[in-house]
């Protein structure tokens, strides 16, 4: 046994010494935490893990920069004759990966595909392209889109990959599905997908935009679900870049060959209370819960300190955000919390269940919350559930308290209306406040940004003071990379933006 092990060790060492031929090529090897789920159809895939590749393969008409400004992508410019009409001028010489030149007809087809119920496209909602009435190709390079009603964030929403422009021929050749096909215009084309192991995208030489052209011959995404395996792979040079877990940041602090890259996400983690169930229908209880939380402590434990105290419109949404630290319920005040509990008739507390799942930070948040709510007499049973059960609780609105991590999107129409407007599909609390609904409608019906900000801020404050959620933090996202990697500047708008990124080996 010992001998065998020795032989094995010797073998491994020998292998370690032989340089991998791969490293000679200009390939970015990227260790990711999850495999692409389902495939790469930009219109029907919601999995974050698949978006990493979709982002390289497809383009949208417009993009949004870090400061939430809409910038050109496939459309070089656009005009808005009236509040419901958009005219886009497309870039010239845009080629699909099939080699065919993209025309206005393809844009028209893409939106028709999104709007066709048979596609089951995720963009077929007013958060994205759902409000489109007609799409007309005025000529080969001009597209006119008319909306059914005013939708202020429409332009920004077009930057979502759900609104990608796709190649009609490829769709039709593949029986209407792009899951395993590539009908994009992006800088990289879909290479090989070895499920549960790796996905390769290859440089597309005819990319229309010189600046955004592929800088690598290929990007290879390696599925390394285990965080420590990812780190080991990076350290040994098996990969150049990994999705990092905050727990491993300390370990590479003194490692000269590894750099840490991060950005502030537009996600937030927090507690969603079921406002239609006792005792959470009592505002006093909800206030008490908010006051019982020590958000800094949760950030310390569940995010290793790498998150900002946040509301449901995180600071990364810029001017839309409300400074929550000023909110009276954001500072822990156990005394007041207990007093509110007593006032609500729960001097001796109560027992409740909290559903967690999907992510370590969600689970850990639940565990810390269990401790903190214990301080005001609420006995919390943490239910760590499997993905399917979690989604069931979400879709069935069936929970007492649920810890969620949601994306706030790039506009409050997502951050506020999508989650809190009466009847919205993501309003899992079945929260209903007439004024909030009204404000949301007002804000979407005007394109005046100042007005919209005013409406949304009022709605945000109503929700905050109603205490229907107890949002904790907006996490920072981390990457670890070999120092050879240069120019990688991820942002909340585009976390996997590899344009201009190089490796200097």
């Amino acid at each position: 046994m010992k001998k065998l092990f020795a032989v094995l060790l010797a073998m491994m060492m020998l292998l370690a010494l032989t340089p991998l031929s791969l490293a000679e090529e200009n390939v970015l090897r990227y260790g990711v935490d999850a495999d692409a789920a389902g495939g790469f159809d930009p219109h029907t895939i919601s999995a974050v893990a698949s978006m990493r590749m979709i982002g390289q393969m497809y383009n949208t008409l417009v993009d949004v920069d870090e400061n939430l400004n809409v910038i050109p992508e496939l459309a070089v410019s656009w005009e808005q004759p009236d509040d419901t009409t958009y005219i886009f001028h497309l870039a010239k010489g845009v080629k699909f990966h099939s080699g065919r030149t993209m025309t206005a007809q393809d844009v028209k087809y893409s939106f028709e595909r999104i709007l066709d119920p048979a596609t089951g496209a995720l963009g077929n909602s007013s958060s994205y392209a759902g409000d489109i009435d007609t799409v007309e190709a005025l000529d080969d390079e001009t597209v006119k889109i008319t909306l059914k009603n005013i939708n202020a964030p429409f332009l920004a929403n077009l930057s979502s990959s759900y609104c990608s422009i796709v190649d009609r021929d490829v769709v039709e050749k593949n029986g209407g599905s792009l899951l395993l096909a590539d009908g994009g215009t992006g800088p990289y084309t879909l290479g090989e997908w070895v499920p549960d192991n790796s996905i390769t995208v290859k440089a597309f030489p005819d990319y229309f935009d010189e600046a955004g052209k592929a800088t690598f011959d290929a990007i290879e995404f390696y599925v390394l679900t285990d965080a420590s395996a990812r780190l080991a792979a990076l350290r040994t040079g098996a990969v150049d870049l990994i999705v990092a877990d905050t727990a491993m940041l300390d370990l590479v602090e003194n490692d000269d060959s590894i750099q840490t890259i991060s950005y502030q996400s537009r996600n937030y983690t927090g507690l969603f209370l079921n406002v239609n169930r006792a005792p959470f229908d009592n505002p006093l209880v909800r206030q008490a819960i908010n006051l019982a939380l020590n958000r800094e402590e949760i950030i310390d434990f569940a995010f290793n300190g790498k998150a900002l105290v946040s509301g449901f419109v995180p600071a990364s949404l810029g001017h839309w955000a409300v400074d929550v630290t000023e909110n009276e319920y954001y500072t822990q005040n156990l005394e007041k919390a207990r007093q509110l509990m007593a006032e609500a008739g729960y001097a001796n507390g109560f027992e409740t269940e909290i559903i967690v799942g999907l992510l370590d930070s969600i689970r850990d948040t639940g565990l810390v919350v269990e401790q903190q709510l214990g301080e005001i007499g609420i006995k919390v049973n943490v239910q760590d559930v499997e993905r399917g059960q979690y989604l069931d609780a979400w879709n069935g609105h069936n929970f007492d308290i649920m810890v969620c991590q949601n994306g706030a999107g790039s506009d409050p129409s997502r951050a506020v209306a999508f989650f809190f407007k009466t009847g919205s599909s993501a309003n899992i609390q079945d929260y209903s406040n007439a004024r909030v609904d009204e404000l949301c409608e007002l804000a979407v019906a005007t394109t005046d940004t100042a007005k919209r900000e005013e409406y949304y801020k009022e709605a945000i404050n109503i929700i905050l003071n109603d205490c229907i959620v107890a949002i904790v933090a907006s996490p920072q996202e981390y990457f670890l990379a070999s120092t050879a990697l240069q120019g990688f500047a991820p942002s909340a708008s585009n976390a996997n933006n590899f344009s201009g990124v190089t490796l200097t080996r």
Binding site: E297, F301, D360, V382, V385, E386
Partner: protein, 291 residues
């Protein structure tokens, strides 16, 4: 000169010596007994042994190394690993014992029925057992937990179901052996009910393989629970089980090796003890292996 009329099977046969004493005499058996005893004792006395609340977090002592205050160090919540190990013994043993209990109970019943009725009933039962056995145990357990929902009870049920076939097979084999022996025929000719005879004779006969099987299945259950924790379907937090502690510790393995070391050590020791005990028990209970 008094003639003593004694039955042929004398009193002082070494085989009739108390099983525990025989186990104790074998050094391996003794080691196993001590190990198992310690773990059980630890589980029973957990509230007195544990030094801190297992769920109590301490932001000032995150990932503290083992020392005077925290004997086995702390985890990323600043929770005392020693106390969690002690309470973890409870959860891990509970999972093991209840799961094996479920498996043994159903296995006994199904084995009895299969062995007793033969024919179609038997074929059906054994086919179901084959199907369960054919299915990779971790996947099957995951399947069951997915269907029933995650909870400690469901974990036990899942691990229990996975282990039923082994017990069913053991019992069925014993029933068949007993059925073929003469004394069943004799007893039947006296007019005793068939089922009653079977229960009376099979039970002592299966006891030996059953006990051995149970000790082995128990360690298997502890391991399965650990693997399920790894795949995210284990014990509900904040209850510590050794498996879930080990699984949670992976991220911190490098920075806080004690988080891996201690749960692993206790799992190893427990499984080692149960297996050694099971092996020795087999040697003691199985007369064939004796001289």
């Amino acid at each position: 000169m008094k003639r003593k009329d004694r039955p042929v099977a004398g009193r002082a046969l070494p085989g009739n010596e108390s099983i525990l004493r025989q186990l104790w005499r074998d050094p391996m058996g003794r080691a196993g007994m001590i190990g198992v005893g310690l773990v059980i004792l630890m589980a029973l006395l957990a509230p007195w042994i544990a030094r801190f609340d297992v769920a109590k977090m301490n932001s000032k002592a995150k990932l503290a190394a083992p020392g005077a205050e925290f004997w086995f160090g702390t985890d990323h919540f600043g929770r005392d690993v020693f106390s969690r190990i002690v309470y973890g013994a409870r959860v891990s043993l509970e999972v093991g014992i209840v799961a094996v209990g479920i498996a043994a109970g159903f296995g006994y019943l199904l084995g009895m029925i299969a062995g007793f009725f033969e024919g179609r009933t038997e074929t059906l039962i054994m086919m179901v057992m084959d199907v369960i056995f054919a299915f990779p145990s971790i996947l099957l357990a995951l399947f069951i937990v997915s269907a029933l929902g995650t909870s400690i009870l469901n974990t036990m049920i899942a691990i229990g179901i996975v282990n039923i076939p082994v017990f069913t097979r053991t019992v069925r084999a014993s029933v068949k052996t007993v059925k073929s022996t003469d004394y069943i025929a004799n007893a039947r000719s006296i007019g005793l009910k068939k089922m009653k005879i079977l229960f009376r004779h099979v039970t002592p006969n299966v006891l030996a393989p059953f006990t051995v099987q149970a000790t082995l299945a128990l360690s298997g259950a502890i391991l399965t629970e650990a693997s399920m924790s790894f795949l995210g379907l284990g014990i509900q937090p904040p209850n510590p089980s050794w498996g879930s502690m080990l699984s949670d510790a992976r991220k911190y393995m490098e920075r806080a090796p004690w988080l891996v070391l201690f749960p692993a050590l206790f799992i190893i020791l427990t499984i080692l003890s149960f297996n050694i005990l099971g092996d020795s028990l087999r040697d003691v209970l199985d007369p064939k292996l004796k001289l």
